[in-house]
Symmetry: C2
Subunit: 705 residues, 2 copies
């Protein structure tokens, strides 16, 4: 027999030849009695060893006092005891050379200082012997293909449907919910892991370990918070290479839910925006409907990740006008482009004997749900070259007469472009039939539109390995003053307004400016990040006397605002010509996602509308252009309402320049160009104010593990 340690992590995790259940119970009402029962009920073919010093047998099977007393070293140990005994068990695992252990107990890092100390001991115990841990707080590991039910979750007390989607979840109850909801839809799973507290193996590490498993075709992740991103990024690249798409559902779209698991990191870019940016860079499809997590993988397998030159075109064809209109509404409100069949396509319909009126939807209601007509119509849509995806909305025949339209749809599964379907009535058998035939099908229009939108938005992963993993936000950061901030950003290629630094004492004599009046005058201090609030800015200063008066006013205002701040220098800049729009270009090192670049419209409205877009930094020009298109308030740059179009390319170059801080200035933890005045097309852009925060390089303790 191969030593357990010589087998792969994935094999020991998902295909153990032998398992041990430590803390197994003989009381059938107890949670800890479940794993033995589940394994036996499912018919697990490997050895099941029971460990409980208080019992000699459990449900007719022998029980051992310790792991050491077992006849072999198990490939995977499931630890059901409380926290402290669990640490003891992991120590025993380490001594014996057990390769993988899953820990059910809670009471670790989530429970304050004492819990963190306990988790450190758990981890140390495992590391001492090379034991890889799932958990703590893990509801277990399930592989329906091999009847591995190492779980205490009551949801697994039934027959499981094997499938090709692998689920990893930070919430234990979700794996049970997905199993039952999948079953109701005829969708099974290749494996389900509740990763729990991720003390050792993170959600990314678990998935990466399984990426060569030929029985896994796609991944579905349920996340409560974004952590261990380096491993998630490594998995993203591996999954892309293996051609296995990933769909993710993450809590925290709302501040309330985000607060339940993770604290905010900024005013404009909440942690969820950063997670969004991270998933995008990973090439993950993020969905917002729970059931889309189950339904999207089939579609993701049929539509490859790519950057579309033009927005992808979805064609909608139906036997129910009302149902199709619902789907159009759902798609369009998510920004998916639904296009009408052209006159040429309508002509081909007519020649095939399928009467279809010119409309956004190809409505076959008049033709009826007849097999041959439906099939011809779908093929005409697929072969037209006018659509990148075709969505069939099936009416009542989906439930009452699947041999009509449904059979025709199933036969078009491998047509020229991917085909997907939504059934208006409740029709679980039809959805399963279509999925099996290779036509991804959806139970609700909302889940379907969510999955389609997320699928079409998915690009190839761009996330790169990082030199050092991100850590907690440094607390010792300091703010550079505007002049120093501007110099640092100018060196990266950000166009900044020219400026002169004057000491307040200098102003006794008339200053010699390299530009003419009028000018803007600002206090220069690293202690004044919000200069306007402190009365530290005077605009439109039109001569030397006014300049002196402005400086005096600034000194007085700042002193009144905060007596601890002494203004001894000011920055003088020429007044800029008015721009078409003002933008905010920000940069931040997110503790979870790493460096990100942010774009928002300038001014109070962007904040009121929470109108900003975030990407992992650095970005290329194409991504920066995508960001500009993603900020509604910057729509003025397109020449909205007769105004002159703005210099989008200058804005794009600035975004790219700011984003390169990620590569060139690891000491910068935050930067903000606000406002960047974007002028009319061809006339450039200029940063009117800038702020940079830097932190000293940190030592090895910066690692988050």
């Amino acid at each position: 027999m191969v030593a357990p340690s010589a087998r792969s992590l994935a094999d020991n995790l998902l295909r153990p030849r032998s398992v041990a259940i430590v803390g197994a119970s003989g009381d059938p009402r107890k949670t800890t009695s479940r794993p033995q029962r589940f394994l036996r009920h499912a018919g697990f073919a490997g050895a099941v060893h029971l460990v409980n010093p208080a019992r000699e047998e459990l449900f007719g099977e022998p029980c051992h006092p310790t792991l050491a007393a077992l006849p072999e070293v198990p490939d995977h140990v499931f630890v059901l005891t409380n926290a402290e005994p669990a640490i003891e068990t992991i120590r025993e695992c380490a001594e014996l050379g057990v390769p993988v252990a899953t820990v059910l107990a809670s009471g670790f890092a989530e429970e304050g200082e004492a819990g963190r100390e306990r988790e450190a001991r758990l981890r140390a115990a495992a590391e001492a012997g090379g034991v890889r841990l799932i958990g703590p707080s893990s509801l277990g590991v399930v592989n329906p293909r091999e009847k591995v039910l190492l779980t205490a979750n009551a949801a697994f007390d039934e027959d499981l449907l094997p499938g090709e989607v692998f689920v990893a979840s930070q919430s234990g109850s979700i794996i049970g919910a997905l199993v039952s909801r999948g079953k109701a839809r005829g969708i099974g799973f290749a494996g389900l892991v509740s990763v729990g507290g991720e003390a050792d193996l993170s959600i990314g590490a678990v998935c990466e370990a399984t990426v060569d498993d030929p029985g896994i075709a796609a991944y579905a992740l349920f996340m409560e918070s974004l952590q261990h991103t380096e491993e998630l990024a490594r998995f993203a690249r591996a999954a892309h290479r293996a051609g296995k798409p990933v769909v993710v559902y993450k809590l925290g779209r709302s501040a309330e839910a985000a607060a339940l698991s993770v604290s905010h990191t900024g005013a404009l870019a909440g942690a969820d925006d950063e997670a969004d940016a991270f998933f995008r860079a990973c090439g993950f499809a993020r969905v917002d409907h729970l059931e889309a997590l189950i339904e999207a993988p089939a579609l993701l397998r049929r539509v490859s990740a790519r950057t579309w030159a033009e927005p992808p075109r979805v064609g909608v064809i139906t036997t129910t006008g009302g149902g199709a209109a619902i789907m159009v509404d759902q798609l369009a409100t998510r920004g998916v482009r639904v296009v009408a069949p052209s006159p040429q396509v309508l002509d081909r319909f007519a020649r095939a004997g399928v009467p279809v009126a010119p409309n956004l939807i190809a409505d076959l209601t008049l033709a009826g749900a007849k097999h041959d007509l439906v099939r011809s119509a779908i093929e005409i849509m697929q072969d037209s070259g006018e659509f990148d995806l075709v969505c069939f909305v099936i009416g009542s025949s989906a439930r009452s007469n699947p041999e009509l339209a449904v059979r025709a749809i199933a036969e078009c599964a491998d047509g020229t472009v991917p085909l997907t379907a939504f059934a208006l009535p409740d029709a679980p058998a039809t959805l399963e039939l279509l999925d099996t035939a290779g036509v991804p099908a959806f139970r609700t229009p909302e889940s379907g539109a969510d999955a389609i939108a997320a699928t079409l938005a998915r690009t190839v992963p761009t996330v790169r390995p990082r030199a050092a993993p991100p850590g907690a936000a440094p607390t010792t950061a300091r703010v550079l003053d505007e002049a120093a901030s501007a110099r640092l950003l100018a060196a990266r290629g950000v166009p900044v307004v020219p400026s002169v630094t004057l000491t307040v004492a200098d102003l006794a004599v008339e200053p010699d400016l390299p530009f003419g009046y009028p000018v803007a005058v600002k206090a220069l201090s690293g202690d004044l990040p919000h200069k306007t609030d402190a009365g530290a800015v005077v605009l439109g200063v039109d001569g030397p006397a006014a300049l002196r008066a402005a400086v005096e006013r600034i000194v007085a205002s700042v002193a009144a605002h905060d007596p601890r701040v002494v203004v001894d220098r000011v920055l003088v800049q020429p007044m800029a010509e008015p721009g078409v729009a003002e933008a905010l270009v920000g940069y931040r090192v997110s503790p979870a996602a790493g460096p990100v670049v942010l774009l928002a419209a300038g001014g109070v409205f962007a904040e009121l509308y929470c109108d900003s877009t975030v990407r992992l930094a650095p970005v290329d020009a194409a991504t920066a252009r995508e960001m500009v298109a993603g900020v509604r308030g910057l729509g003025v740059l397109d020449g909205f309402r007769g105004t002159e179009p703005g210099d989008v390319e200058a804005l794009v170059e600035t975004i790219v320049a700011v984003s390169t801080l990620a590569e060139h200035h690891p000491e910068v933890v935050e930067a903000e160009v606000n406002p960047l005045s974007v002028r009319a097309a061809g006339r450039g852009a200029v940063a009117l104010d800038a702020l940079v925060r830097i932190a000293p390089p940190q030592g090895g303790d910066r690692s988050c593990r």
Copy 2:
């Protein structure tokens, strides 16, 4: 026997003692064979008369050549023939005194001029004999309680679940979809009507006719477009008096879907916004998830319509932290306020032996899904006075052990505040059990949150009967010039900036202004609705010479912009002091919804963000305040980011004043105050520009029927 005509419309519609099927077929593959089969299969107790001149019997039952040949006048005739023969049949119905007929055929108003003419003949045939029509294009009328299956929809070829919700739908296929989806959820219906083309009985009229039916407890409407609003409003008031809540799903949230059924009526307030305003005024709860249409009625029956003094407080309690976090996310993103249990409640939990950590969610995971503990915890939440609604998120026990938490939840159905539930796993039996017990339950977190948000947003109906029904937008409207517009609005109480009208000829001598310089100068013409675009405005004019120059510039600019417009008069106004914010207050007579008042932030951003709110006019101050709160861009009025708070009350008074056009100026079809400059609190607001469009009073042909 009572003559059919002496019975109520509802009785003949939903409880016919006898029905006739005209155009019934003997070919079981044909749609037209279905009604006979459905009625017999369901066991309809009344008489079923078959009419088909080509047949003597159908499936063993006698068949008659004409309606006149029947032994009695049927209460309800279902007409399955094509369009022209259907008109003939309605004529026959009229002669015989048939009270209600449902017409399946299409080919009427939706088919252009010929179709409209056909529909006029259909209507005339019915009116001649007092026949009330459902349809044309109706898939039928179903009453599961009385086994009335007057439908040709294949979806009804199965056993139906009777229930207490009445469905009326502008889409025929939806009634079938709701029946099967409801059945999968254990929810049945009191009746389902496909209203089709509403040539006679509109969706509102059908519902109003049934409002006294004691077997109907709530209504679910599916709408493709807003029409026949006077009848819908009448139904809304009747439903409210009868204590029967109404939930509505309407297509057209997206422009694409709106275009499928109805054309746009304005730039900022699309038809869908007007529908939203109309539903709100009707006290309808509007949902966005298809299945919320099925699931919301149970909740609406338990939470009465009201205006909440404070935003209603939702408490979330759970046996699955992850599942509850999903629900919190869904609720919070819809603006529903989720509140944490207070320390007092946590203390009561502790004394009841239920360990709950302080958090937004009352998480019973540690306590476990034990019947007594769950029941105590729910009762503590319900009795605390801290929540207006309690939502229980049930974990795996919902599927595997409903005798634990689920039974406890069911027992709390009649607690101090309404209780609702979402089951994380697939658990149809549990959902049905809870619904039956009186705990509205939800299959998905999205549908649940949608239903909860819509329920809590519902108010008592405020919609009033209108003197005349709205009609198509008049084509002869003309624009009043700014001076006339301002006078009309000032008379309604809108604060307008003072102004003087000068003829261009006057300017040879220095004008005598009742206010000082600087002034604003604008061309005065009803032919220049967009003055700025035409170069017809000059601001900051600081003396008589500058005024002359400004007028010359305006005359030249307008001539260059549009040679057909001759500027012979200008309006001169004092330059207004700068305000805290600019708003747009609009008014419009919507062809569907009637007079509406609109509020948006001023400037280009409001358009970019589609940030506006619409209500039926007139509005009271409370509603106007609600409108101000509903426009994100007007958040600056609250003193955002250290700016001075704005005079919200002056804005509110202006909205109310503009909205009174609905009562005092029936000739006004559109008005716009843009911008209204809102000053700091206590300093008022002032309209800087105004525009009014009026149409001559129209004759009787304005009616839409």
